[in-house]
């Protein structure tokens, strides 16, 4: 009997993450939406823990819950300086809702007809040390994508600084 995921913990975390996403969409205040996003990201990190992906849970907390939310709040602080600017109408869109519903039902049909190759969860998973060994293995490892990722981050950093610097004159 393979290990499976605890349904109660999954239900709580799924409710928290969907609730966070709905909170982002239903917040009038942009700052509140940022905090709802933070809550959804923490809930997804908990889901990663349920899936025994401890490293990814940590990265999720650091990158999304830490960096991205703080960056969003900084931009809100810099651009929407008065309180009235940050509070805005909800922007309901019927065509957007129809698009999202169609997309969601299409994905649902895909999942319902998708035969996942392994139905039973393997009981043992490699730990973080094994993850690092596979990442940097010389044959069949992920060294080249890793280097490209660092290049992407460098280019993004330079580009962000370039775009956000003050114009001369």
């Amino acid at each position: 009997m393979g290990e499976t995921v605890n349904g109660v913990a999954f239900a709580i975390l799924a409710f928290a993450s969907i609730g966070g996403a709905v909170g982002v969409l239903a917040s009038r205040n942009v700052v509140h939406a940022g905090f709802w996003l933070l809550e959804a990201m923490v809930a997804v990190a908990g889901l990663y823990l349920l899936l025994s992906a401890e490293f990814l849970a940590l990265v999720q907390l650091l990158v999304y819950a830490g960096a991205v939310s703080v960056l969003l709040l900084f931009v809100v602080m810099l651009t929407l300086r008065r309180r009235e600017d940050a509070v805005r109408p909800l922007d309901w869109s019927l065509s957007g809702a129809v698009l999202a519903l169609l997309f969601g039902s299409m994905i649902y049909l895909g999942i319902a007809n998708f035969d996942i190759p392994v139905a039973e969860m393997p009981s043992t998973v490699p730990d973080i040390a094994a993850l690092g060994e596979i990442l940097f293995a010389l044959d069949g490892g992920w060294v080249l994508p890793f280097e490209i990722a660092s290049l992407v981050l460098l280019v993004a950093l330079v580009g962000a600084v370039w775009w956000s610097k003050e114009d001369e004159k």
Partner: protein
Amino acid sequence: MMQVGPGAFLALAAVLFSLGLYGAVSKKSAVMVLMSLEIMAVAVNLNMVALSRWVTPETMTGQFFSMFTMVVSAAEIGLGLALVLAIYRRSRSIELSTMERLKG
């Protein structure tokens, strides 16, 4: 005790992605659109981690994929917010309707 399989995770990711898609097409503030994009990116990552747990637990392929997706999404949010700042300096507003002259 109630147990869930990979299908539950895939369904949750689909719901999250649909919510993010709705936000990305309906919101009129650039910051809100970026937040919705992040929700969509997280849904995709959740998908890959869940499938990695059940299908390739030994090689953890999905975990590496979502690691690199996180890199791309972090770069995307950094550049997107820098762009929002640049547009704000030019037109003193981050409403998407002020960016219509980008249509050319």
